[in-house]
Each structure stands twice: as structure tokens, then as C-alpha cells.
């Protein structure tokens, strides 16, 4: 319906031909801009409502595996509440952490306190990493953009692959027993107790609305530029432009896409419209996924922030594991889709 309206506007009212470069580029630009901004507003609002139920402090409590259990003292004084000391087991903890990473609001400026808070409450290092990998990678902006421009199937593939990468990455780091590669001071910090404030629905709605405004303010320009470049290429570049360079038969395409993706951190909003057109012009799906993951999960500023709590060797191992896993994902999907 929206497409029909935009077609009418561009081809009838403005009198451009659908076959012309300008007409097809402009049609693409108007259609996508309005669609993406609407989706961003609505979905970020809904996601924020869900997130208001999962502040990092609660996620920490869940992942620490400590539950308050009422125990009958047996001497007639009644029941007392005791914290159990069961930390979550490997696999299960990693799965839970990767999933909670999706719903816990997280910005890289909170990476240090979140890391310390998790470690302090006894969350195993590998489980903490599963969270640290999934949280930025499966972020709502990337997801909405993928959904809006590639369709829900690719968005779903991206989430599930992202969660799996986070689980595997965390398990490997956990197995390597790298606890001594965490800066020593981290283990000396004692976290205070603070009752979680229960939010009212009005507060949740205010929070969600404020968050929508925040995100839109941050990304609108990138989205516009991204869609404009995408629209331009859609209208002007030949359809099989990239098959030779980024098609599934070029083995170097995946590592190269990852290398290009790393410095483009946190610009998922602007990159996805461009990637969408790259795929239309012949880039293979696995290469697209690897590129997206490199953009969101391998961000240089986040590594610099994490350096405050991790020794250089652990940062190196972390980057290494992520790079290898992401490249593997790229090859895997290129092979499956072939």
C-alpha cells in the first residue's frame, strides 16, 4: 500500500519514469526512509518497554544463579531466607547470558561496571563474555533495519546466529581459564546492595518514549545518508555489479568484509541500507552477515573501554575468537545458500 502511494507520487505526480535512474533511486529513497523511521519508532518503543523489566542489576542477579530460598530452621523459630551458592553451569549459563544480552539495555559506557558487577556476583567469566558479545551484536537498531530492509527471515537468521556466536565465544573463553587475565583490582571491588526500584507503567512508558527519541536523534542522519547512498546505487549501479567481488565464489570476500566492518562500529543504522543494496547487486548472504557482525560486535571503542578491566592478552584472545567465529559464520552461510 505504502509502495503504491510512493510509486504514484514519484511516477505520476512528479512524472518520473520507473525505468529512469533518477525515478527508481528517488522512489527507493522515499519508500525506505518513511518505512524505516516508522519501524524504528514503533519497535524501539516496544523493545524499551520489555527492557524496562530487565535492568542490568536484575540480569546480574539471574546470572549469578543465587536464589533466595526459605529454609525452616527446625527449632520452632520459623523460616529464614538463605542465598544458595549455586552458580550457573557452563552451557546453560552461556545460553541464558546470550539471551539476556538481547533484552538488557546496555551501552558501552556501562561495559565496565556491568563486567565488574557480574564478576563480583560470581558469574563465571565465560558466561559474562556471552553477555558482552550478544548485547551489542543483537541490538535493536540493527535488527529493525535488517527486518525493514531484508525481511524478517534474515533478521531472524541474524539474531539466532548472533546468539549462537555469543554462546560459543563465551564457552571457549570459559574453557580457557583466563580469570588471571582480568585486571586484579576487579576482584577487590565489593558491590553495594541496592533495592531495585519497582517502576510504574507510566515510568516504563516515559522511559521507552525517551529512549525512542534518544535513538532517533542519534541515528536519523546515518539512516538518511545510508538510504540515500543505497537509493543512488539501486538506481545507478548495474545489477550484477558485485557478484565477482563479493559473490559466494570469492573466498576472500568474507575476511575482507570483516576487516572493513571493524572500523565502522556502531553505525549499523547507516550501513544496513547500503548492505541491502550490496546484496541486491550480488553480495552473498554469508558475507553480509559476517560484515554486519563485525560492525556491531567488533567495535574498537568498546575494546578500549574493556581494556580497563581486561589485560591485553585477554582482549587479544577475545578479538581473535570473535574474528574467527564471525568469518566461520560467513563461510557457513555462503556454503548453505549455495
Amino acid at each position: 500500500m505504502w509502495q503504491a502511494f510512493v510509486d504514484y507520487l514519484v511516477y505520476q505526480v512528479m512524472g518520473l519514469s520507473p525505468q529512469s535512474h533518477l525515478g527508481s533511486a528517488l522512489d527507493f529513497f522515499i519508500y525506505d526512509t518513511v518505512k524505516i523511521f516508522l519501524m524504528l519508532a514503533v519497535i524501539i518503543f516496544l523493545v524499551s518497554i520489555i527492557r524496562s523489566f530487565f535492568p542490568p542489576e536484575r540480569t546480574r542477579k539471574i546470572l549469578s544463579g543465587k536464589r533466595e530460598v526459605k529454609v525452616d530452621t527446625g527449632d520452632g523459630t520459623g523460616a529464614v531466607t538463605v542465598e544458595t551458592e549455586s552458580s550457573l553451569r557452563e552451557f546453560l549459563g552461556n545460553v541464558l547470558a546470550a539471551l539476556l544480552g538481547i533484552v538488557t539495555p546496555f551501552c558501552s559506557c556501562s561495559a565496565v561496571p556491568v563486567f565488574i558487577g557480574f564478576v563480583e556476583s560470581g558469574v563465571p567469566l565465560g558466561v559474562t563474555f556471552s553477555f558482552l558479545i550478544s548485547s551489542p551484536m543483537v541490538n535493536e537498531v540493527a535488527l529493525i533495519m535488517l527486518w525493514g530492509m531484508f525481511g524478517w527471515k534474515i533478521a531472524a537468521i541474524y539474531i539466532s546466529t548472533g546468539v549462537i556466536v555469543a554462546i560459543i565465544g563465551g564457552i571457549i573463553i570459559g574453557r580457557l581459564k583466563l580469570e588471571h587475565q582480568v585486571e586484579d583490582y576487579v576482584y577487590n571491588i565489593k558491590m553495594g546492595e541496592n533495592e531495585l526500584v519497582k517502576l510504574t507503567w507510566k515510568e516504563r512508558v516515559d522511559y521507552a518514549w525517551g529512549y525512542v527519541q534518544d535513538i532517533l536523534k542519534k541515528v536519523w542522519l546515518y539512516v538518511l545518508i545510508g538510504i540515500a547512498i543505497g537509493g543512488f546505487m539501486h538506481g545507478y549501479a548495474p545489477a550484477d555489479f558485485l557478484v565477482r567481488y563479493a559473490g559466494k565464489d570469492n573466498l576472500f570476500a568474507v575476511p575482507l568484509a570483516v576487516a572493513i566492518g571493524v572500523p565502522l562500529y556502531s553505525n549499523a543504522a547507516g550501513i544496513i541500507p547500503i548492505v541491502n543494496v550490496l546484496m541486491e547487486k550480488g553480495m552473498a548472504l554469508g558475507t553480509v552477515l559476517a560484515f554486519m557482525m563485525a560492525v556491531t560486535a567488533l567495535s574498537l571503542p568498546e575494546m578500549i573501554i574493556l581494556r580497563k578491566v581486561l589485560k591485553p592478552k585477554l582482549i587479544g584472545i577475545f578479538i581473535g575468537i570473535m574474528t574467527v567465529t564471525i568469518i566461520f559464520v560467513g563461510y557457513l552461510f555462503n556454503a548453505i545458500m549455495a
Partner: protein, 81 residues
């Protein structure tokens, strides 16, 4: 009254919170000592993991998000009373 703003540095919302707090204090003519806390050990001692975070008279008022100016006003007025 003692107001602490917990911040891991750098982030835009932390600076904005400080600015809003100062504005509210000025408008309501409230006397308060405003302290910026950036040391991670002290931030964690309040039991929070997300910044910016507003602490008034050692009570955590809000963590991990920037409140509206009116909300900050309510926090300050209720502590001041």
C-alpha cells in the same frame, strides 16, 4: 543536601544529567553540594551497574537513564523537605 552524579566518564547523558541538576538547584534556590563520582569502586559501592546515576543524600534515585527535568526536581524537592 548532598547530590552525587555517578558517571563512567565521557557519555553524553552523564553530562546532561549534571547540567539538569545544576539548573534545577538554581531555579528552586536549593543549596546542595554536587559531587561527580567517576571512580569505579565508589560507583559500584552504590550497588548500581549502569550510568548515569543520581544519588541524593546517599540514596540511589535513578540509574542507567537520564530522567526528565521535572523528575529531577521532584527528587530534589522530596529530599529537601
Amino acid at each position: 543536601m548532598e547530590i552525587k552524579i555517578l558517571s563512567t566518564g565521557g557519555c553524553a547523558n552523564c553530562k546532561k544529567m549534571e547540567q539538569l541538576v545544576l539548573e534545577v538547584l538554581k531555579e528552586t534556590k536549593t543549596a546542595a553540594e554536587v559531587i561527580k563520582v567517576t571512580e569505579i569502586k565508589e560507583i559500584m559501592s552504590f550497588g548500581v551497574m549502569s550510568t548515569p546515576c543520581l544519588v541524593i543524600n546517599n540514596k540511589v534515585k535513578i540509574a542507567g537513564k537520564l530522567p526528565a527535568k521535572n523528575t529531577i526536581k521532584e527528587f530534589i524537592m522530596s529530599e529537601d523537605a
